[in-house]
Symmetry: C2
Subunit: 218 residues, 2 copies
DNA sequence: TGAACCTGACTGACCGGTCGGTTAGTATTT
DNA sequence: AAATACTAACCGACCGGTCAGTCAGGTTCA
């Protein structure tokens, strides 16, 4: 292998994390070898453990990195909208970006959930992930409650249920034979059902979930 | 090892599946070895591949077995109740049996979801799992709609959302630091939120989710 | 300026251990 | 005795982790 060009430590680590993410989302946590990750990042295997203490530690940092970046993007998307209903729509749009990105993220996420359910180091990161979501979700709900648009009792519980609908629908979507063709339907339904749940019976502003927004995000 | 007593093929296979289930739920799919399963079932390793073509095939059959038995138990629980609201409660009670059983089942289930998202043989079983759930869930919803108790538009979509709330809350629960102590809360909230979602605003029969039912099923 | 020296990122061969799967042989049943 | 059920030793592939060595790019010193 031709010697890889020099990078800063941060760049190298990030490149390895990105490579690991793609490998994990394709093959699954335990099917990925250190060699796979190194190859994908264009370096030799040895360097992977030069930057990370162990494979497990690399995965943990990958999970942290994913968690942080998804949090940041959710906050950003939500902050860009004024109206609570629009905030929910922005969140759905972010979480359902496109079939391929969706699949990539959720495959990795499910793997991490499996790890979290058994190993405490991972569980902690997962706990932090859900804590961040709770923060974001309940913030939206609270605003909607204050404005009288969302007719729920408890902002934390409603936020948690909203998140459960996201995750639960995603799991159903992943079991579809042809996920790509059912993707738009799931996304639309997710938005509709969450808004229905939050706003109570009937349509939102007369056209809940009807209005377009059906293009595939790049 | 003292030679294991003779059993019929069906008995042996079932014993191996049960052993595999316990191992998988503890350690996770890819951390379990054929030796682990054999030891747990009290037989030698060789016998595992005498009854199953490969490890992968054993896992696939395990998934089928789990799927079938959970379907059967859900149908039974639902059939035992008349009232749609009671049916929902029965379903929640079945799905949230106890912290330990819950953890065992859901850990294995998450692992299988991870597999399903990548390997088609597993995906098909998962698809069947969700198809069965859809059948059961939408049946309940339909009855509730007919009786005018559930104010949803579409029985399939509402059933799917209900299932999403189950799965999504379960994933959140698994990330808790002390799942055992938060279990009852999740279960109660699951029941409450689903009924709220299905029946629309306000309480169900005046005491939605309030009424006891807080013992820990054995 | 340039030669000698140093540093640390990087490579790839290697090792110990593990695990899925095979098989030769033994016990049990019919 | 023939078939079946089962064991235990074994094989070969694979993988996480280690490590001796390489090389590019400074830094020091003449």
């Amino acid at each position: 292998m031709p010697r890889a060009a020099h990078f800063t430590e941060a760049e190298r680590r990030l490149a390895l994390l990105k490579a690991a993410f793609r490998e994990v989302s394709e093959k699954g946590f335990s099917e990925v070898t250190l060699d796979d990750i190194a190859k994908r990042a264009g370096v030799s295997k040895g360097i992977t453990l030069y930057y990370f203490d162990s494979k497990e530690e690399l995965y943990r940092e990958l999970f942290v990195w994913l968690t942080d970046s998804i949090h940041a993007r959710m906050r950003e998307a939500v902050a860009a909208e004024k109206d609570p209903v629009a905030k929910v729509r922005a969140l759905v749009a972010l979480i359902f970006p496109s079939p391929s990105k969706n699949r990539a993220f959720f495959r990795a996420f499910i793997d991490f959930c499996g790890l979290s359910a058994r190993r405490d180091g991972f569980r902690e990161v997962n706990e932090r992930f859900y804590a961040g979501c709770r923060d974001i979700d309940s913030g939206i709900v609270e605003e909607g409650m204050r404005q009288g648009v969302f007719l729920v009792r408890d902002r934390l519980e409603a936020g948690s249920t909203m998140r459960a609908i996201f995750d639960g629908l995603m799991m159903q979507w992943l079991s579809e034979k042809d996920p790509d063709s059912t993707f738009a339907g799931y996304r639309e339904r997710c938005e509709r059902e969450i808004l229905q749940y939050l706003t109570g019976r009937g349509s939102v502003g007369g056209d809940a979930g009807r209005a377009g927004r059906r293009e595939e995000a790049k």
